[in-house]
């Protein structure tokens, strides 16, 4: 994941939500000057409350959280849906399980990174989410390809099709899964970084709105739909 060199205007306000004190402290220490930590929360209810009180630009959201009704990070994102678009969510998880990650994304998170991410990378990701872009790790791109299919028959013909990726979107996802940064994807496909971001945002939208069979099965396993 690249850290975009967008000229730093003002630090991004961030709320850290994680049930482990150690981890929160670690994240707080690793973030650089591009972000400002305005608060922390340790469970679902506290997170919802803090998000409404502090109105941060970005909430760094752990997928597995105690409290609430057991919905974890997805529940926080859903209960804070009224704060959009001022507050955006970036899922931060130690779990690599597709169902967990997809649940949070479908609840409204704008991206997903693993907890192994470095401080500068996380700061960059937070900044990008605050700017309205989607943050896809290789892992998330892999989930998307898995869920939407990679075969020839899985390519969308029309742009407004929600259940399939377009050929270009599939290509972009495949490159991200292979470890390419947005910039490398752009130069490989001879398109601009902005276009790559547009494609990624479109994929995120499909991921959130699609009723595709595999996605609904993941969701049904947790009785969310």
């Amino acid at each position: 994941m690249t850290t975009t060199d967008t000229p730093t205007t003002e630090p991004v306000d961030v709320l850290i939500v994680d049930d482990h004190l150690m981890f929160r402290a670690g994240v707080r220490a690793s973030l650089d000057e591009r972000v400002r930590v305005v608060g922390e929360a340790a469970d679902v209810d506290a997170a919802v409350e803090a998000a409404h009180a502090l109105r941060p630009a970005v909430v760094l959201l752990d997928v597995h959280l105690p409290g609430g009704l057991g919905g974890g990070g997805a529940e926080v994102a859903r209960r804070c849906a009224d704060l959009a678009p001022g507050t955006r969510f970036l899922a931060l998880s130690v779990s690599d399980a597709a169902e967990d990650v997809v649940a949070v994304i479908r609840a409204g998170a704008r991206g997903y990174v693993t907890k192994a991410i470095t401080g500068p990378e996380l700061s960059g990701a937070a900044q990008r989410v605050a700017a309205g872009d989607a943050v896809f790790s290789p892992r998330l791109a892999g989930f998307v390809l898995d869920a939407f299919g990679t075969g020839m028959g899985d390519v969308a013909i029309a742009d407004d099709e929600l259940d399939r990726l377009s050929a270009r979107e599939q290509e972009v996802m495949r490159l991200i899964a292979r470890g390419y940064t947005y910039r490398e994807v752009a130069s490989k496909l001879f398109i601009s970084v902005k276009t790559v971001e547009t494609h990624v945002s479109a994929v995120l939208r499909k991921l959130q709105l699609s009723s595709r069979h595999e996605l609904t099965r993941w969701a049904a396993a947790r009785r969310i739909l």
Binding site: V94, R139, T150, G151, D154, G179, A220
Partner: protein, 452 residues
């Protein structure tokens, strides 16, 4: 007309969903009535999922059978006896505990209020009130029909808790004694009582002894009929609880195992606290192991290429201490072609961690057509033509190995960009073309492994 209601067994096409957990054969899903996509009681949908044939076929057969009357009886019987649930989800949940992830799955945070049930109950009670009112004064010439209707409604209300037993378990209330089920039972009892009394005392309001006796017996019979599902449900809940307890014990075993492995690693880390590399390596290995235990459902060994790739990457990580990002899309059962591909991928990965620079990533994609592997690093790159001919590494153990199996290998490299090795192996048509002749190069590969 009387077509056999039980649809003929057929190989399950439902399991061949394109991506994801595709080609690995799965046991057929249990017989459950799904809530999604049901038309009446979900019987046809459940049977279709269980047997693995299209719902439409089952529905058609059921309707044809229904015309003769047999189908209706069968349908109602199945409606009552088959529990509610999503067959596909249940099939996934029924994996052996030691292959299942340990972390709790996220739950839906939606609490459902039984609006439909309460509404139906209220309407039925109102109807009962009207009937009682009619007996006391006003005349509504309904005769037999209304009392019978009330009676049937009461029975339906009470029996409907068989459905709710499953939902009650999901609300994790021991024994499933939710207020809803109590309301159901009480309401049903009341309705049946009213219905029976109205029926029995219909002809003469001043009932003689015989009539009263008949009424009492009828009421008792009605009550027994109402209570039957309650007992059925208790028995079933008991069985479920026993199964849950057995699983719990299994889980405790797993937890103990986990503690052992983590504790061991921690002790090792403490022992080698001065050696930063060693500590990082141990921590990384343990992290990988834990993650696998906690968050993924494990595959039975030898059935999953994805699992093999992850294991291979784990070995390389452990041996060289360089983290590798693995992304896997799709899965298949390993065969000769994929194992050659894996060995080539291993060589490419070793080159990447030895000569390249992190981050190193490996991407595996299994499609219907081919299996592809991309290994990428961010080193300075190299030119394949510059590699001396006596160097075996890239040319022989990566490119040659894949090409001998009918695959393709491309190395792309550039300074400041790194190196990407792209390996592709067409998927063999499942017919047994792998005779002894095809196995010969396998031997060759094995020898090479020792000399390389």
């Amino acid at each position: 007309m009387t077509s056999p209601p039980g649809p003929p067994p057929a190989p399950s096409p439902a399991a061949t969903s394109g991506a994801g957990s595709a080609t690995v054969d799965r046991a057929r899903p249990p017989l459950l009535r799904p809530e999604a996509g049901r038309r009446v009681g979900g019987v046809c949908a459940g049977v279709a999922a269980h047997v693995g044939i299209p719902v439409r076929t089952v529905r058609l057969a059921m309707i044809l059978a229904g015309l003769s009357g047999v189908g209706i009886v069968l349908y109602v019987f199945w409606w009552i006896t088959i529990p509610v649930g999503d067959p596909h989800v249940a099939a996934e949940e029924s994996r052996p505990a030691e292959l299942q992830r340990l972390a709790r799955r996220l739950r839906s945070e939606r609490r459902t209020f039984p609006v439909r049930d309460v509404l139906a109950g209220a309407i039925l009670l109102a109807a009962a009130g009207v009937l009682v009112g009619e007996r006391l004064g006003w005349h509504l010439d309904a005769g037999w029909a209304l009392p019978v209707l009330v009676l049937l409604a009461g029975l339906a209300l009470a029996w409907s808790q068989l459905d709710a037993a499953q939902r009650g378990r999901m609300l994790s209330q021991a024994g499933g004694r939710t207020p809803g089920s109590v309301l159901r039972l009480g309401g049903g009892l009341l309705l049946v009582l009213v219905g029976v009394l109205l029926l029995v005392g219909r002809t003469s309001s001043t009932a003689d002894m015989a009539r009263a006796w008949v009424a009492a017996v009828a009421v008792l019979a009605g009550a027994a009929l109402v209570l039957a599902p309650w007992w059925l449900r208790l028995a079933r809940a008991l069985g479920d609880e026993r199964a849950a307890r057995a699983r719990e014990a299994e889980r405790a075993d797993i937890a103990a195992h986990l503690h052992d492995s983590v504790l061991q690693t921690l002790a090792l880390i403490r022992a080698s606290a001065d050696d930063a590399d060693q500590v990082a390596r141990l921590a990384r290995a343990q992290e990988r192991e834990l993650r696998e235990w906690l968050y993924t459902d494990r595959a039975v060994s030898g059935t999953s290429l994805a699992a093999d790739v992850r294991e291979l990457v784990g070995q390389v990580e452990d041996a060289h201490g360089v983290p590798v990002e693995v992304v896997v899309v799709g899965d298949c059962v390993p065969d000769d072609g994929t194992s050659a591909l894996l060995r080539a991928a291993r060589e490419a990965l070793l080159n990447a961690v030895r000569h390249g620079a992190p981050p190193v990533s490996l991407y595996l994609e299994v499609s219907d057509r081919a299996v592809e592997v991309f290994v990428r690093d961010r080193g300075d790159g190299f030119d394949l033509d510059d590699v001396p001919h006596d160097r075996f590494g890239v040319r022989e153990s990566i490119v040659g190995r894949v090409q001998r199996r009918g695959g393709r290998a491309v190395v792309e490299s550039g300074s400041g960009w790194g190196t990407e090795v792209h390996l592709e192996m067409p998927r063999a048509p499942q017919a047994g073309s792998n005779g002894p002749a095809a196995r010969a190069p396998e031997q060759h590969d094995a020898n090479e492994e020792t000399t390389a």
